[in-house]
């Protein structure tokens, strides 16, 4: 084996330009696969972090009727916050949020929204609720996300009519004043929601002390006294992100699958050509004491070694590139919010040792197989004809 490695290495380096072209294409596959996977991992991490920071905190308790995907549940999904939470509520490690179905009328159009009551002083979520702590005499102060602002052409300082139903099903209306428009990377908090002070919403709807969900900051803490409220862990709430990323990753795999295929075609082609052109050399190896099977081994090692050289070359330019990407991030050429999913404009790839090792193993394995397949032909060669270079 050591001899084969030594010989294969000499042959490969000796083949010159052709070797380096193959190696370059292969190394490109290495870097792109690692980069794209890193990007996905980075996106996943970032999306989860953003979601944690802006939407879910350390986890949530939901009213048993609450279903964020079904606005009609909102009429039923509210109840007084469990008494056992009062300590944490007082300390600010828990925040009650009341969500009520409502309608706004920007420029006369009708737009359903989720009116979200939240304490202005809350510190669990990054939504700038502090802005709600403004004294407005003739309107309700409101904070909205950039997506809603863009979709409805509503700016900071604009006034809108808002309508809702109270606990008795009676319609009421008031004017709201948009105090602040915020940007996050989390479409769910930006679109279709209007944040107003919790106490204001409670009195508007006659739902004193009630909430739809409760966000908490301490995900480790065990709480027994939640009553009918359903505990939702951070992992549970961020699971949809994994799903989205997984679907995206499948799409990406097609791309680097094609790249890998091209690299493999190059190696395969080189192998086929080698076996055809180097018949005399093959005959010589046999005359000098190799068996045909050992020559198959030699040629396989030689082909597979492309991937080893490629790994080295990939490390040379890939390491600085990947490191630079991880630091500077990759800014998408299109507006990220258009994706309609949690995605920052600039993604920072995250690489794991597992990712790098798996990529190297896969590429080396595939290259070995692709090198072996054509080399099998050597085992059927007649050594005397190989020596004469006569095989067609």
């Amino acid at each position: 084996m050591k001899t084969a490695l030594k010989l294969a290495f000499r042959n490969l380096i000796g083949a010159g330009l052709r070797t380096w072209l193959n190696v370059l294409v292969l190394s490109f596959s290495f870097v792109v696969i690692i980069w794209m996977n890193g990007l996905m991992a980075g996106w996943d991490y970032q999306a989860k972090t953003d979601m944690t920071n802006w939407q879910i905190g350390g986890g949530q308790y939901w009213h048993e009727q609450y279903d964020p995907y079904d606005p009609f549940t909102l009429t039923e999904s509210h109840a007084p916050v469990p008494a056992g939470f009062s300590d944490e509520l007082a300390r600010g490690t828990m925040e009650p949020i009341l969500v009520v179905q409502g309608t706004i009328y920007p420029e006369g159009r009708m737009q359903p929204v989720a009116i979200t009551g939240i304490r202005p002083g809350q510190e669990i979520l990054m939504i700038p609720t502090f802005a709600l702590d403004t004294v407005v005499t003739d309107a309700v102060p409101a904070v909205i996300g950039a997506v809603l602002s863009r979709n409805m052409q509503v700016k900071e300082g604009d006034r809108l009519t808002m309508r809702w139903r109270d606990a008795n099903g009676m319609f009421d209306a008031t004017e709201i004043l948009v105090i602040k428009v915020f940007s996050s990377n989390v479409p769910a908090v930006e679109a279709g929601q209007i944040y107003i002070p919790l106490e204001k919403l409670r009195s508007m709807t006659l739902l004193e002390d009630e909430a739809t969900l409760v966000t908490f900051s301490d995900s480790e803490k065990e709480r027994q006294d939640a009553g009918e409220w359903v505990h939702k862990s951070k992992d549970e709430l961020t699971a949809p992100v994994d799903e989205i990323i997984k679907t995206k990753t499948v799409g990406q795999s097609v791309f680097y699958g094609i790249l890998l295929l091209l690299a493999m075609l190059a190696v395969f082609d080189t192998q086929v050509l080698s076996i055809f052109r180097r018949q005399k050399e093959i005959g010589t190896y046999i005359a000098l004491g190799y068996t045909r099977r050992e020559v198959v081994g030699l040629f396989t090692v030689e082909g597979a070694m492309h991937s080893v050289l490629a790994a080295v070359v990939a490390a040379l330019y890939g390491f600085p590139f990947l490191w630079w990407q991880a630091r500077e991030g990759w800014t998408m050429p299109i507006e990220a919010s258009e994706f309609g999913m949690a995605m920052a404009q600039t993604l920072y790839p995250v690489y794991s040792a597992g990712l790098v090792i798996a990529t190297v193993l896969i590429v080396v394995l595939v290259t070995t197989i692709v090198s072996y397949l054509p080399s099998r032909k050597i085992a059927k060669m007649n050594p005397t004809e190989a020596l004469r270079g006569r095989i067609q």
């Binding site: 046999i286 005359a287 000098l288 004491g289 068996t291 045909r292 099977r293 050992e294 020596l387």
Partner: protein, 248 residues
């Protein structure tokens, strides 16, 4: 000489399939070669010289009859055993040198020793010795494409000789060389034959080679035709003559 025979061939026949029929390349060959002989298979093109040499070299097998080489019956060896025989005991020299073109002279000559799994120090010493025999110590780092035909064939001789094999098989070693180079490499081989007592078997129709042979085995249409033996003195004499011819 018959007692320490290195090659014994009995009633050897070789046929190649040719479509539905077959072609008989060798028929009823009987031959015995002793250790230290400097002999050759001589005959016109197509007479079966290469075919016989390949069988003796365990690169091919007889169709019938027997070829005993260094005590091994060629037809009965497994691929592995045949490879081992070549690796340990046989040296090959080809008409077109068959050097590994991307490897240096040193690496080419080192190759058989790598196969024998020798240590680096031992390899280096043996390679340098072999290159000294053929007078190419200056060219260790060159690659075959940078060498002349004569130099290439000398590298090939060094490669065949480096492990001091019992038997060297040389198929038309001078066919691509001019007269001066042909004599030069023949002298080299004759010298090695004498100093190391290596058995040489050539296949040739080159008069220059034939002039050096001490035993000439003539083949015609795949059959043994005749044999001539030459006393050692006559070969020496021819050497001197050829030397004189060269200096003219």
């Amino acid at each position: 000489m018959e007692n320490n025979a290195i090659i014994t061939i009995k009633d050897l026949t070789k046929t190649f399939p040719m479509g539905k029929s077959s072609f008989t390349a060798l028929e009823g060959i009987n031959l015995s070669l002793g250790t230290g002989e400097f002999s050759g298979l001589i005959g016109p093109s197509g007479s079966g010289k290469t075919t016989l040499l390949n069988i003796i070299g365990s690169l091919d097998t007889p169709t019938s009859g027997e070829a005993l080489v260094l005590g091994h019956s060629i037809g009965e060896l497994s691929a592995k055993q045949a490879a081992r025989l070549r690796k340990e005991s046989l040296g090959f020299i080809f008409q077109s040198y068959n050097l590994l073109s991307v490897h240096t002279v040193f690496e080419n000559v080192e190759f058989p020793l790598l196969l024998l799994k020798m240590g680096a120090d031992e390899r280096k010493k043996m390679v340098m010795d072999a290159l000294e025999w053929v007078g190419l110590t200056e060219k260790v780092k060159s690659k075959p494409p940078q060498l002349s035909g004569g130099e290439c064939q000398r590298v090939a001789i060094a490669r065949a000789m480096v492990k001091k094999p019992s038997l060297v098989l040389a198929d038309e070693p001078t066919a691509n060389l001019d007269a001066a180079n042909s004599h030069n490499i023949l002298q080299t081989m004759l010298k090695l034959n004498k100093e190391l007592n290596t058995t040489f078997l050539f296949a040739t129709h080159d008069e220059k080679v034939i002039g050096y042979l001490r035993r000439k085995i003539y083949l015609l249409d795949g059959k043994f035709e005749k044999e001539e033996r030459v006393g050692e003195d006559e070969v020496e004499l021819k050497e001197v003559e050829s030397g004189r011819r060269l200096s003219k």
